[in-house]
Subunit: 313 residues, 2 copies
């Protein structure tokens, strides 16, 4: 069945009345890179006035909630750190609230400052990450630089642009030697979307992709043959972490996203209704073509900014 | 059927008479790390006297044939560069002889000096590898450091202890942008065996494993979703490359190795008979246990060094 496109004020009002909590993907729903989607500021403001709970849900684990807050501020979008849920914070909450990670254990981090900041925020000790000792090249002549540490109880891997063999081998040795060591990925996105400045300064930036978080962790999966726990969308642990903190009724929640494989699948895996917005990564034919994706959103809209326009009708 | 253990001089002579070309794995057959297997020097010398062709076949792509020759010299083992076939040289031969890689194209290398040396030896131009520009950390603020190069016609990935995001992203961008760009792995070994000095200097070195070549290439497979051509054991391209250079009769060849998953599988995939030697990575129960490996060698011996002893009986 082709999912219905929401277009009339009646449909829109019926949907909004049935939702208490809006789970909102960021890039592709709220903004595209540094450009805010038309009407989104008004939509968010209108939802706030109607008393709806807003949670910004993103797989980006490099930024902490504080860093995301700064991004929102720069884009002049009203948002509060406690409304922001990145896969880094979700990993920290999952470790702390759901796995009850022991206070005397440490997490070995492959990841960036934002991920470390979120572990700090829940009081979990960590090593690796941005430590300069772990961000160097090593030689095959001296593997003794890879230090074992029995106090490491989990390896947590997210996007890390300073990925290197020493970090991978250290993480691998913890998984190899430390009994019961958890193996957790913030997310497994295969690619990292970014923009590159055009050579011609009069031309706009070029959208492109490079290896993503899932690529950063791939060596550890391949070498250790272990199946990690994956926190981020489309996986349910992300929702478990959000609910552990926000305690909302999933039946009265709506996941809004532009990506079938992450956002919409995430809603489906977690028993939350889904709204797909066009204009992001999903092509029209994936929803309305002759051979559509098996991942079906409950509702489709052209843009999340339409909410505000429809409300004024 | 349980493979027969060769033990009598008659069995040994029958086998040796049926073989013109011995394909010999190195680590685990000829030596263990820096220790030569008992009787192997005598066995090699005896086979040479009998006019047998010897080819040393190794998945290690970090060392060139010249580097391997130096290792053999240091261990006081008679061997010649033209008898040595590493997966790096095999990749170079495969590109040159089988893929007829165009002279005006370049190979982007994720790998070490030995791999570059082998590409040089067949006259294939390359970039990446040990170039200092490709062996640095980059920042997320400037993806423009990743240079496109339409002249790159293949990405070749082997073990590289200086793996980093810039190299991975550069290789990824060639695969993404250059039409028809080959994607080749020297080998896909999940782990890299090495020895670590014991903390107690009176104790022997500790054997251990770290992420291997297959782990180094895993990010590219995961991000690009491409299936690479894998040269090294157990894959047939390695044999195709050896035969392109040595032109022997596979029916009168024997692959000798200690690893079921690489050496023995390699012989089976290439139509060459196989001899498993014990004392390496294969456990006795994998061959003779109640639930043995489905990979069956044609023959089993305790040690390749036994050849010399048996010949004296």
């Amino acid at each position: 069945m082709t999912p219905p496109i929401l277009s009339s004020p009646e449909e829109y009002k019926k949907l909004i009345d049935s939702v208490d909590t809006f789970l909102l993907d960021c890039d592709g729903v709220i903004y595209h890179g540094s450009v805010v989607v038309d009407g989104v500021r008004e939509t968010l403001s209108m939802l706030r006035k109607a008393g709806k709970k807003l949670i910004f849900v993103t797989n980006n684990a490099s930024k902490s909630r504080q860093m995301y807050k700064a991004t929102f501020d720069k884009l002049n979008i009203e948002a509060y750190p406690e409304e922001i849920f990145g896969s880094g914070y979700a990993s920290a909450v999952y470790l702390s609230e759901i796995l009850k990670f022991p206070k005397d254990k440490k997490v070995y981090v492959i990841g960036e400052a934002g991920l470390e900041e979120e572990l700090d925020s829940v009081g979990i000790a960590h090593s690796g990450g941005t430590d300069p000792e772990d961000n160097t090249f090593m030689s095959k002549d001296d593997f003794s630089v890879i230090k074992s540490d029995p106090s490491v109880g989990a390896v947590l891997c997210g996007f890390d642009i300073r990925i290197n063999y020493k970090k991978l081998a250290t993480a691998f040795s913890h998984l190899r030697d430390n009994e019961g060591c958890h193996f957790i990925l913030t997310n497994q996105d295969p690619t990292y979307p970014t923009t590159q400045k055009s050579k011609d300064p009069s031309k706009p930036d070029i959208k492109t992709i490079y290896p993503g978080s899932g690529a950063i962790s791939a060596p550890l999966l391949f070498a250790s043959k272990r199946t990690p726990l994956i926190i981020g969308k489309p996986n349910k642990p992300m929702m478990d972490a959000i609910i552990a903190e926000h305690h909302f009724d999933v039946k009265r929640a709506l996941m809004v996203g532009d990506n079938l494989a992450t956002d919409i699948e995430f809603g489906i895996n977690s028993g939350v209704r889904t709204l797909l917005v066009m204009g992001g990564v999903t092509k029209r034919e994936q929803v309305f073509g002759d051979d559509p994706s098996p991942v079906k959103p409950d509702f489709v809209m052209e843009s999340f900014g339409q909410f505000a326009t429809l409300a004024q009708d």
